[in-house]
Symmetry: C2
Subunit: 407 residues, 2 copies
Amino acid sequence: MKKTILRKYARLIAEAGVNVQKGQEVFILAGLDQPEFVRMVAEECYKLGAERVVVDWDYQPLSLVDNKYCSVETLGTLTGYQKARWEHYVEKIPCRIYLDSDDPDGLRGADQDKMLKAQQMRYPLVKGYRDQLENKYQWCIAAVPGSAWAKKLFPELTKHQAVEKLWEAILSTSRVTEDPVEAWRAHNADLHDRCAYLNSLGIAELHYTASDGTDFNVGMIPEAEFKGGGDTSLQGIFFNPNIPTEECFISPMRGKAEGIVYASMPLSREGQLIENFMIRFHEGKAVEWHAEKNESLLTNIITADEGAAYLGECALVPYDSPIRKSGLLFYNTLFDENAACHLALGMGFADTIRGFENKSLEECRALGINDSMIHVDFMIGTEDLNIDAVTRDGKTVPVFRNGNWAF
Amino acid sequence: MKKTILRKYARLIAEAGVNVQKGQEVFILAGLDQPEFVRMVAEECYKLGAERVVVDWDYQPLSLVDNKYCSVETLGTLTGYQKARWEHYVEKIPCRIYLDSDDPDGLRGADQDKMLKAQQMRYPLVKGYRDQLENKYQWCIAAVPGSAWAKKLFPELTKHQAVEKLWEAILSTSRVTEDPVEAWRAHNADLHDRCAYLNSLGIAELHYTASDGTDFNVGMIPEAEFKGGGDTSLQGIFFNPNIPTEECFISPMRGKAEGIVYASMPLSREGQLIENFMIRFHEGKAVEWHAEKNESLLTNIITADEGAAYLGECALVPYDSPIRKSGLLFYNTLFDENAACHLALGMGFADTIRGFENKSLEECRALGINDSMIHVDFMIGTEDLNIDAVTRDGKTVPVFRNGNWAF
């Protein structure tokens, strides 16, 4: 890929993505696949005045080796220097950039049970720090092509060709145009207007129907609001947490979901695809589920902890989103969740509560925001999906018709 | 390179190199160049019973970016989580593996002055931890080819060919034979016998002469002894700190060096070559030096701190060493120092003092071991170098004749 366009993308991530402020620290987590691009991002952060940029490199095959040879205790504990890292984050509130290039099949063959147990051990150790950081810092997830990921999408091409093709797909769906920062300003304005309209309706519940059999109601938290595109940290800094993003999303009321949803796309999980699955909800909880393929992985998700069976997110994405129109299944949530309407099992977002900045996490959860160590998106948007909003004053307002915005 | 031979090399590093003990932690520092090999090394460490293997990846071009944009204060301080890392090393005494693949020119263009100032600021912060770790842990430096490094040696080859050729050079000079662990056992026995002979002589000083003009005397510490090949940590674990190694080395008496030495090979430093240089010593100290090329870099070394002008090491390496015979200048000290006799400016090795395990560092330094934040080797071995030992009882014993062992 040409250096000039990569430089624009690096700038987009540093300026519109995390919006580095003078004197801030930046931590970048990246795979080994595109080191020269990672260097460019670091450089753009410095040009915006970063005091220090630290890159943590991640090599997925090592996680497999660790998973094979380490004990659950070793994988599930935090060493002193890992705790010191978290303490540093809490103290300094640095920007965090995640440059995802993972092979969707990279964890195939891992001991899932061990992985889950270690995650369950680690979660409470990390939770205190995470809660202290929530909504305080600017972060951004963006993608760069890894060769294994690229070959998964384009198996017929050479490695080099596949990587170039995935670069093209990433850059076009991420709106890396002549002036990407301006393109993102305009895109944010559109998402902002749609959220404002939805929030003006006073929605009590959303009702989803589609020809695949989806017939589903989900209740809203009166204090919650739709959000989309950029976000503002508690320190008052605007940033774009996801590049790309196409969704208007909200966290629904824990305990208020009834009916059946059918997945419209496979769910890529731990190197495998969960395919053709449905989930039935009763009183907010997943009570029945089936998958034609890899049902046990779906069961692992839903039973990971007590909150994993409840919903954390409802996201509205038009069927004619650029990502769906690319015709690609990216095997990567950052992209695939922006191809279609989706729900997420697990953790909800406290910052969807109006005035969350003056509330504690516990207060937000008491209002109905779900809590869990997982947050797993799955797609339910189809070309004939209809969604109606039932408002608190009893009106029915069309929100989606035939897979796209009705307004 | 074939996976079977790489697997043998990985095993050599884990078993003969650091000699991982059951339940030990291992920290690997590696460039991004050969991740699959790094994974193999991690795996071999686990097979030997490592409890946890942590890989820290290093990408040299980022150091250049940091050097350009960070303040000396930022580069020269230790953050809390970096201190916590050092505390972890002191507490757990893990094995340390360094897989060097750096581009010898990778730091070209850096602000040398800033780099030196940051290093001078950092050194006292790290020194306390380093002193506590000295001789306690098993460590091993070995090399893997980076493509920039390979192209430096073989500019006429394609990148892929150059990397293969450098793999061959590394593997053959590192004695990665059919049974490398056994080859290293035999090699260690030879180095051990030569050191035992040298130590039996009671050497008061070594006298170097060669046709290039070298005429140089260096005094020995009566309590010091020649060491070579594998070493034993204070915890009693045998390990091989350098792969490859061909030298019998000793730390000379600080303050006792007289005469002139001429470098027989260029010194690769911070991406540049210091060429055709000489150093004159008086009362142990470098008092005059000249280089045809990059003299200022030599000056930076010698004036880095007070101890940098004194010697920390005298190493004896035959002119027919496999590395010299390969005909390659590796632009890497690990190899080039094993091509010929060399001296090192800066820090000496306290563990060359007999019974050092029952002495404090301060006691070793009081006996004549030099202290400095630097340790820079430079080659003086030529094909007509003669070295005589003058013993404490007044005899003269030939040690080297015509560049090779005289015994």
